[in-house]
Symmetry: C2
Amino acid sequence: MNLNECPCSGKTLARLIQPAVMAVLANEPLHGYVIVQRLTGMTMFQDHGPDITGVYRLLKSMEKKGFVTSSWELAASGPAKRRYALTPGGRACLTRWITTLRTYRDAVSNLLDTAAASGAAKTRRGGNRRTPTPEAKSDEG
Amino acid sequence: MNLNECPCSGKTLARLIQPAVMAVLANEPLHGYVIVQRLTGMTMFQDHGPDITGVYRLLKSMEKKGFVTSSWELAASGPAKRRYALTPGGRACLTRWITTLRTYRDAVSNLLDTAAASGAAKTRRGGNRRTPTPEAKSDEG
DNA sequence: GTACGGTATAAGAGATAGTCCTATAGTGGA
DNA sequence: TCCACTATAGGACTATCTCTTATACCGTAC
């Protein structure tokens, strides 16, 4: 029982790299490496950043699905870079993601309410502040 | 390119079954089947409900990790039921989940902002914000 | 002139999580 | 007997994610 190995630590909260990549690509075509840097600055990857291999792998699969296109960029100096751009299909996917994310955020809030109402959060004593939440009036607890 | 097979459809938005199960178990010990029914009523599983096999599988793994305990309940009629109860360790995990979920909700909001700001949501017309992207003038290929 | 770190891409192997299909067992109704 | 509902669960598969390792180019330090 090591809570640091548990998903509750927040380390493995993912499954959202796809929309995150699409979101940064929606602004402008970028190289994989730059995408990773952008993602690293995002809230969802705060301290650790996404796995680089995973991002490249994802970009490959996204290209296969037609969500992005890529082209090699040969600069005068430095290694070749692959430049990824969002396709109209990818943009449609991102648009749908936005709806999904709203639902998701809602679901997480709902889950938070359920969890908080269960009393699991009451580890600390000293008067659980009677939050004026709507469920305060329900006859539960 | 079938968006119905894409995670953006919201079908595969999961990874949160664990805290959901813990949240419903925090109130009272329950049978697996009842847990599934409770989950089905939650926002995050609105229309489809969780996979039953997955929930039983999860409960097993949670027991192995020490987050729940189980005991067989032999009623006068009907098949034997396994009754799951949250352990103190499981409760600690749930408490941590609450913090994680807040962070997660925050991250999703942040991602929503990024995605919405990218203009992906602007499927409707109404004057596309004049954002002459830098690569509009460079002809890279 | 090579060792090191940064930029840039990517495959292999494995872990984890979740879904679909199937199997079991008891109860009750048509 | 067949079917539906309650109740639990394994097998096989897929998707996703991580860890390790590999490559190639570049600049700087020693």
